[in-house]
């Protein structure tokens, strides 16, 4: 008998996010949500603080997600999620995954205290930071996740961001939570697997998802996946996991890193950089990549 040939899908077909959302063209944050929900399934509650996703979801009475959402205060994603988890357990629901879903501002900056508190308590929540490297929802202001050299509306070209991006995975690792992973919208299978793995772990899980923002990065919407892939290939945003705060695994190994300019040159936010600025960024990427490899 002739074996029928079928295409094998690497991600579940079911969509828990509908197309009627309010994101900009080429938004990385929407791709991140779509992949994560494919991994978590319907038994999920999402806590979304002020961030792009507070708008993307759609205005009352609409929602583009098929799972329930608590739109919570800006600095309160982790603490709200911790409360939801406790509340659900007390009413007999021990299965639902409680997902805190925040941008880089709500994670690296204003929400860091609540996140640290939840992580220290090891509350059973999954925290995703979709990182577009600035306050994009309010119009591209710098956050502590904005990389060195970037233009934003509060770091104008003459005074571009002159401090490096905060090492959020290092901060989370210091809390010794069971699971930390970086992920990218350019690697959906890797992202999916990590979300699925996190779902099965009890305690605080932290996923840091790189989510390009054409509006804020001054890049072409069709370049979102390309930029996300180049960020991995240049080691600007390497993909790795940290288990129990100590065990590091690099998921996408790089034999030869691409030069940083391959990544920078597609983004208007870096257009003003001089050769020496680019060299400085390259040196910092090299140093961090070496350090990460030493941790493994």
């Amino acid at each position: 008998m002739k074996k029928e040939r079928t295409m094998k899908l690497s991600l579940p077909e079911e969509e828990l996010m509908s197309p009627g959302h309010l994101a900009c063209q080429g938004c990385g944050a929407t791709m991140a949500m779509r992949y994560v929900l494919k991994a978590l399934g319907r038994k999920t509650v999402v806590c979304i603080p002020a961030c792009c996703w507070a708008v993307i979801d759609g205005p009352f009475p609409h929602s583009s997600l098929s799972v329930p959402i608590f739109h919570c205060a800006f600095e309160a994603a982790a603490s709200t999620a911790a409360g939801v988890k406790a509340g659900l357990e007390m009413v007999g629901d021990t299965e639902t995954t409680v997902l805190a879903w925040a941008g880089d501002g709500g994670t690296f900056d204003i929400g860091l205290q609540a996140l640290s508190g939840a992580a220290e308590r090891n509350d059973d929540i999954m925290y995703v930071c979709y990182d577009n490297e600035a306050y994009m929802n309010t119009g591209i202001q710098r956050s502590s996740a904005t990389p060195y050299g970037a233009w934003t509306t509060t770091t104008p070209v003459k005074h571009f961001k002159n401090r490096p991006k905060k090492d959020i995975s290092g901060i989370m690792a210091a809390h010794r939570i069971p699971y930390i992973a970086t992920a990218s919208v350019a690697y959906p299978e890797d992202l999916f697997k990590k979300a699925q793995k996190a779902k099965e772990i009890r305690g605080t899980k932290f996923l840091h998802i790189f989510a390009p923002c054409p509006s804020g990065w001054k890049s072409r919407p069709e370049d979102t996946v390309k930029l996300a892939r180049l960020a991995v290939q240049t080691a600007v945003f390497p993909l790795f996991e940290i288990e129990d705060g100590e065990k590091y695994t690099i998921n996408i190994k790089l034999k030869d890193k691409k030069p940083i300019n391959d990544y920078l040159r597609f983004q208007g936010r870096f257009r003003h950089l001089k050769e020496e600025d680019v060299a400085r960024i390259q040196a910092e990427v090299d140093r961090k990549w070496e350090k990460l490899n030493k941790n493994c």
Partner: protein, 384 residues
Amino acid sequence: MKKVIMGNHALSYGAMLSRAQVIAAYPITPQTQVVELLSEMCASKKLDAKFIKVESEHSAMAASLGASLAGARTFTATSSQGLALMHELLHWASGGRLPVVMGNINRAMAPGWSIWTDQNDSLSQRDTGWIQFYCSSNQEVLDTVIQAFKVSEKLLIPSMVILDAFALSHTYEIVEIPEQKDVDAYLPPFNPPYRLTPSDPHAFFGLTGPEHYFELRYKLQKDMEKAPALIEETGREFERIFGRSLGLVDEYLSDDAEFLFITSGTAGYTARVAVDDLRREGIKAGNLRMKVFRPFPFDKVRRIVQKAKKVAVVDRNLSYGHHGIFYQEVKSALYGRDGMPPVFGYVAGLGGRDITPGDFKEICRLASSKNTPDEEIGWIGVKR
């Protein structure tokens, strides 16, 4: 069963008997013993609840709201700076119609650092849409927590049960601890009409445009307006089961009073001593202790006040640039009504300075010497 307990523990017992399911709290003097005892009750399984030991009051309220929307009965407690830190989320609680009950120990706001009582912490939260109960005995604190859950869950409006720092929080009194079965009969399990659950997914509190927001706030006010009658009704029901009444106000010899004090908190009990003394001196004094401040019990206050010839409102709080806050509110309730007596305003006891029976007698003397109130605040006990 009777026990000798401090005011803080009266809050803890109230939460335990109400079968709070989630407690999220952060320590602050003079509230700390509330959560210490609750954490013990949770650890020993006297109370089947999750206790989230958060890293700030902001997170305490955020976690409380998460738990409440998930459908759990939720309690927290704080004081002063902690309440101020929660401010943003107090709006979230009422706007989200989440019936959290919170104990607040009245403590003066810094600077300078103070751990002593005054009401500026809770009165600064006047416009956040919470029901506010001001208590004056440990028994009332315990009883009111149970009633607050009943009222809040019926109206889907959060409640604050408020007591004075030290004068009540750390003062031991005899308190009748109700039987659990009686409390269960009075307070059914929390069963909200909507909740955060994957089996019925909704997006809560998302972007709400000018075409919807106004109506949501209109409904909050309409339900707030139902609270006075509901508080009286649930207070009578409480009395039928437990033998103690819980009302909007507490009157002391106000029926035939010519000179009426209006007070709140523990000063409301001190006023009774002064009323007795004044009556012995031949002055027909009385006291109206305001228990419920939000919603403001307009009808009740008007009906009591109109019987008096002169009224003195004593505030342990101050709205800088205006006057004592209860004074403002009482005056606004009476404004434009015929047959209302003149109302005098006095500010006393800020930052925990004692308010004594002698102070009340001084207030009576000062007010009696004038026919009409003037703009100036009547300062009691201040060193000038």
